[in-house]
């Protein structure tokens, strides 16, 4: 079976749940493995994701047809380059309405592109319901949840809350202490470069904490990637 081109939609209908962090981590994971990535930032007002990867991302306004063309026509190119879409919470409804209207998912599969939704969890019922709507509308849609314990902690009921999401997989982004988390705000800090060679000028404490935080996240992405590869292997069915 030919390798499928992955198109990730990192999304949440709500703000401040850690969508951009997750998109950034996924992008850096691929870059750390010398895999080129194409990113799309749908927050055209404050494109923070694009700021971290100015060479690899484009900013799209999907409220405009031209923005939709820039995004979806590119996502449909099966060139084996992973595509990552940072879905701004204000673009959430419009994005999936457009996907439905133009028949994007069906066309993507036909062309060998695998759309994957990475849904950012939060404590609200409406977020889980939104995920459920996506899964009900497209039962074959691959969906995993991302639980960012720092940006969007679920508290003691986390297991019950996570059970509401109709996802087939889960990623956990551990919480970072505030002083360490501040280091992430530096737009010049490349996590892919950091994972290979931490900058010597960085505090040893911050370095150690960031490394301890980043490693399990990248391991989860690697495990996910491996699982996908195994699923699509014709010799293992």
């Amino acid at each position: 079976m030919a390798p499928r081109t992955l198109a990730f939609f990192v999304c949440s209908p709500h703000s401040r749940t850690g969508v951009t962090t997750a998109a950034r981590l996924l992008t850096d994971y691929y870059l750390s493995r010398n895999v080129d990535v194409e990113g799309f930032d749908t927050d055209f007002r404050e494109p923070l994701y694009a700021v971290f990867f100015p060479e690899a991302t484009r900013i799209v306004d999907i409220g405009e047809i031209k923005g939709q063309i820039s995004l979806f026509d590119r996502l449909l190119v099966a060139d084996e380059t992973p595509k990552i879409v940072d879905v701004w919470h204000r673009s959430y409804e419009r994005l999936f309405a457009t996907i439905a209207e133009i028949g994007f998912l069906e066309e993507a599969r036909r062309r060998g592109v695998e759309p994957i939704v990475l849904f950012q969890t939060d404590v609200t019922e409406s977020a889980a319901n939104s995920a459920l709507v996506l899964k009900t509308t497209w039962p074959d849609l691959m969906m995993s949840v991302i639980h960012n314990r720092g940006a969007s902690p679920l508290g003691r009921d986390s297991l019950a809350i996570l059970a509401r999401y109709p996802a087939s997989g889960k990623f956990v982004i551990p919480r970072l202490e505030a002083p360490i988390a501040r280091a992430l705000d530096d737009v010049d800090l490349s996590l892919s470069r950091f994972s290979r060679e931490p900058p010597p000028e960085m505090s040893i404490v911050v370095r150690a904490a960031l490394k301890a935080w980043l490693s399990p996240i990248f391991t989860q992405f690697q495990s996910f990637e491996l699982r996908l590869a195994l699923q699509s292997s014709e010799w293992l069915r």
Partner: protein
């Protein structure tokens, strides 16, 4: 002839309230009997810029996708906008010229295409109907020789209501549909019921067809491609070669055409002009 690359998948048509003084469309049995009779669909309006040719193009796609062999006549001489999009099945004619009238009416029974679509140029609807009346076409319709469907594309102004009164004498034996065309985002005001009733005093309609809006950019790209909507959706150019149309725009056009097809099907257009057994 360009290929028909896609079949339109239709969703269940939405229920709509019948408009004032609705008339039932022909019953299926009657429609089946009528299947052998040639049908003429006239698309027109006396007002310009209401999207007559867009409707005619959508009908040609709809009938083609339903395997109904159709020919078309474009009365916009000499330019012929409909002819530009459907050159293989369209002939440019002047409806007021007897020689062109003969090309249409005298060949209705002999043509392989059992459905003829006439796209009447702006301002030409009343004269066209007058010309058809003069040559006895409506008598033949009344006598059951031909079927006649009139799609009257109306604009949002009161002038459109005045047109209705002008064409009233010709639509007694027609399946007369009013078409509200929103493709270019036209907003139709709600007519005052009394005013509305006054204009419809002498007209019985078979229904109302609403054409939904299509994104301007998508519409413009189909215009530029100069192909039928279905060919654009199938990503082909006018010569049937692979094209490079945006998938997003094709997706919008596909959804729009499916909605238009829902509308045509809802009012029973296939029963009126084609063989239901197809």
């Amino acid at each position: 002839m360009v290929k028909k690359p896609v079949k339109i998948t239709r969703e269940a048509p939405a229920k709509r309230e019948a408009e004032s003084r609705p008339r039932k469309v022909e019953a299926p049995a009657a429609a089946a009997n009528a299947a052998a009779r040639p049908a003429v669909i006239v698309v027109g309006a006396d007002k310009g810029g209401v999207g007559k040719t867009t409707i005619a193009r959508a009908i040609l796609d709809f009938l083609s996708l339903n395997d109904i062999h159709t020919r078309a006549f474009d009365t916009e001489t000499p330019r012929g906008t409909l002819h530009r999009f459907h050159p293989d099945e369209t002939m440019i004619v002047d409806l007021t010229e007897p020689s062109d009238q003969m090309k249409i009416i005298d060949t209705l029974n002999t043509s392989q295409a059992k459905v003829s679509v006439i796209d009447v140029r702006a301002g030409g609807l009343s004269p066209a109907l007058g010309a058809l009346d003069e040559i006895g076409f409506f008598d033949a319709v009344k006598g059951g020789e031909f079927r006649f469907v009139l799609l009257h594309v109306i604009g949002p102004s009161i002038a459109s209501l005045e047109e209705i009164a002008e064409i009233a004498p010709y639509v007694a034996d027609a399946n007369y549909f009013m078409v509200k065309n929103h493709v270019n985002d036209t907003t139709f005001f709600e007519w005052d019921p009394q005013t509305h009733a006054k204009y419809f005093e002498h007209v019985v309609t078979s229904g109302e067809i609403t054409i939904p809006k299509l994104s301007e950019l998508a519409y413009e790209q189909v215009e530029l491609s100069g192909t039928p909507f279905s060919t654009f959706i199938g990503n082909q150019d006018a010569q049937g070669r692979p094209a490079e149309h945006s998938f997003v725009l094709r997706g919008y056009v596909r959804t729009w055409l499916a909605r238009v097809a829902d509308e045509f099907e809802r009012v029973g257009l296939l029963d009126l002009v084609g063989d239901k057994r197809r």
